[in-house]
């Protein structure tokens, strides 16, 4: 599916279409992760420095506050717009729909709400893409879909991302925003996705292929403790929350005051848990450069 082409212009038509058939929705034309409620919708208040930002300007600034560099949460379509060469994303594995394997109370309703809220059919989209001329397999999680948590479908899409990458000898690039970790509502089956995805990463690794993992805000729990932390390269966006047990759980368990910036990307970098923090405006270039440097058959130019 070609996505970039429909990012602008056809909003209302698409919105209507999705409202009636929320089950099959994967395309949403606009980045609307940002709250639309302030000041008649023209201005957005930065949650970090309270700076008022003209919304139209946010798109040019990659949804980053120009005053304090706060990185707003963005949805998968905005991420595609920022990262992928225009018109190159081809979504795969769209035929997988979450079930309610445990008959967990309220789960179908939560899924329906998440679909309605995000226009996505699940918390992660996967497919083939080109980034600065470099073909790769790409997966992007959306925090607004049940906190980016991993159930069977997310686990399967991640696994297939690596499997197709192996078949086609491609690098894999994964943006995780799994603040919800492994999804509770699928019980032990969600837990097993940690094994399944980690194993797929390792098989891809054994073929000598590149895996670039980008940790976006927040990446926690079973997502962090499986595929997300197993990249050859671990990049993070500034300020992203990264860890196993979330800060509230740590605080409650230890009854200790958490250190300043606990589990921030900066904290993770300082403790040796990631390779690099990359500002969103540079992310596409940095990913493109790393992908390029891992192309087969590069020779000295002189």
């Amino acid at each position: 599916m070609q996505v970039n082409g429909c990012l602008e212009g056809v909003d209302s038509m698409f919105k209507d279409l999705f409202r009636t058939k929320p089950k099959y929705v994967t395309v949403r034309p606009q980045a609307v992760s940002i709250k639309q409620d302030s000041s008649a919708g023209l201005w957005e208040k930065c949650p970090n420095c309270e700076n008022l930002i003209y919304k139209k300007g946010l798109e040019q600034s990659f949804y980053v506050c120009e005053k304090c560099d706060f990185h707003f949460r963005i949805d998968v379509w905005e991420r595609l717009r920022q990262i992928v060469d225009e018109g190159t994303f081809e979504e795969l594995h769209t035929d997988l729909v979450s079930d309610n394997p445990l008959g967990f109370p309220g789960y179908p309703e939560k899924l329906a709400q998440a679909r309605e809220k995000t226009g996505l059919d699940e918390g992660l989209i996967a497919g083939r893409a080109v980034i600065q001329g470099n073909p790769c397999m790409l997966a992007i999680a959306d925090f607004d879909f049940m906190a980016g948590s991993m159930g069977s479908v997310v686990g399967e899409r991640v696994t297939r991302t690596f499997e197709v990458a192996m078949e086609q000898e491609l690098a894999a690039v994964v943006f995780s925003a799994g603040g919800g970790g492994a999804r509770m509502q699928e019980g032990v089956l969600s837990l097993m996705q940690m094994a399944k995805t980690s194993q797929a990463v390792e098989r891809h690794h054994q073929e000598g292929l590149l895996y670039l993992s980008v940790l976006t805000n927040p990446t926690l729990g079973g997502v962090y403790a499986s595929f997300a932390s197993l990249g050859d390269f671990l990049l993070a966006e500034p300020g992203a929350l990264i860890g196993f047990a979330g800060p509230r759980i740590v605080e409650e368990a230890t009854r200790q005051k958490l250190p300043n910036g606990f589990q921030s990307a900066e904290f993770a970098l300082e403790h040796g848990m990631i390779d690099k923090i990359v500002h969103r405006k540079d992310l596409r270039q940095v990913i493109g450069r790393i992908l390029h440097m891992h192309r087969k058959g590069l020779v000295p130019s002189a």
Binding site: K23, Y24, T26, T94, D95, L96, V97, S98, D99, P101, F104, P105, G106, S152, V153, E156, T159, A182, R183, M184, E186, G187, V188, L189, S190, L191, M192, Q193, M194, A195, K196, S198, Q199, V201, E202, R203, L220, G221, G222, Y224, A225, S226, F227, S229, L230, G243, F244, A245, I249, V250, A253, T254, Q256, L258, P259, F262, Q263, H271, G272, M273
Partner: protein, 328 residues
């Protein structure tokens, strides 16, 4: 819980006391009460089955946490010989919340690993209530790689409510330690048997839970999250843990039906804590059988089958391709 007894066991306990009394009376006073005793015993037998075969998910969780339930080292002592504990992750320190080492199982050298809860308060504090830090998982992985080098089977005895959610644990990469353990354990070229003996909580259990045969004790639980935390997150009320336990489908029977485990190991009536010897004998028999079934398998095939098993786990619906074509 009083005297190690749960509320739901009390009627049975009182009945058993009464039977004992009558038996004593018979002996002391030389009176024949055998008919009364027989009646009460029938009633006790009925109650026993009523109580222990209809445990709710939450009651099973409580059984799995019984303070007198055999711990990893109890099983090691009762099942293996010549246990030689090995320490340290070679990076930072030795984590007493995970024990591991060399042992023999009916003459066969194996590597045994498992989280260790304390058997009293003092030991619990030393062992951090059996909640491992990253160095515990790194020690476990080091010992597993050692086992692979010497083609020793690995036996993991799993009883852990979760990896420790502490500041230092996070600073030292709890998530990374778990992920790396899952990743490397999956590809180890040596047979692995995992036995969930008590609690199987989340990634902290899965980190040492990738096996060729995965067994689970009758009253153990295994899930993505503990019922209390699940209730806290979903309903902002950890007192709803019993409901969460039910919803999570975390009992051995549930897991067997989802193919997440291979076999249920029976426990003594009322739980493993009632009779350590019997519990250990059951585990030993199941382990013997599990090892016998995987030891002959060539390593290439063993690892492939291990991976294939996890590859199959998950459940979803498949949307008709036509529907997805239509929206392009």
């Amino acid at each position: 819980m009083r005297n190690g007894l749960f509320e739901w066991e009390k009627p049975l306990y009182e009945l058993e006391l009464r039977i004992e009394e009558l038996q004593k009376f018979t002996a002391d006073k030389d009176m024949d009460l055998s008919r009364e005793i027989a009646t009460l015993e029938k009633k006790a037998e009925y109650l026993r089955r009523e109580i222990y075969q209809n445990l709710t998910a939450w009651q099973q969780v409580l059984l799995a946490r019984h303070p007198k339930r055999p711990t990893t080292l109890d099983y090691v002592e009762l099942i293996f010989d010549d246990f030689l504990e090995l320490h340290g992750d070679r990076y930072y320190r030795d984590d007493p919340a995970i024990v591991g080492g060399l042992a023999t199982f009916e003459g066969l050298p194996v590597t045994v690993i498992g989280p260790q809860k304390g058997r009293d308060t003092k030991e619990n504090i030393r062992r951090n209530f059996g909640l491992p830090h990253p160095e515990g998982y790194r020690k476990a992985l080091r010992l597993m790689k050692q086992a692979e080098k010497f083609q020793r089977p690995i036996v993991c005895l799993i009883d852990v409510v979760g990896a420790y959610p502490g500041i230092e644990a996070e600073e030292r990469g709890q998530g990374v330690a778990i992920a790396q353990s899952i990743r490397h354990m999956s590809f180890l070229r040596t047979p692995i048997v995992c036995i969930i003996t008590g609690e199987g909580g989340s990634g902290g259990a899965l980190a040492i839970g990738i096996g060729d045969r995965i067994l689970m004790l009758e009253h153990a639980w295994y899930s993505v999250i503990s019922p209390e935390m699940c209730a806290q997150i979903l309903w902002k009320d950890s007192s709803k843990a019993p409901e969460a336990a039910e919803a999570l489908k975390l009992t051995a029977k549930d897991l067997l039906s989802m193919n997440a485990i291979d076999e249920i190991v029976p426990e003594p009536l009322g739980g493993a804590h009632k009779n350590h010897q019997e519990a250990a004998a059951n585990v030993k028999a199941a382990l013997r059988q599990a090892l016998a079934s995987i030891l002959p398998i060539p390593l290439d095939i063993l690892v492939e089958e291990r991976l294939e098993r996890f590859r199959q786990l998950g459940q979803w619906q498949e949307k008709a391709v036509a529907a997805s074509e239509a929206r392009k």
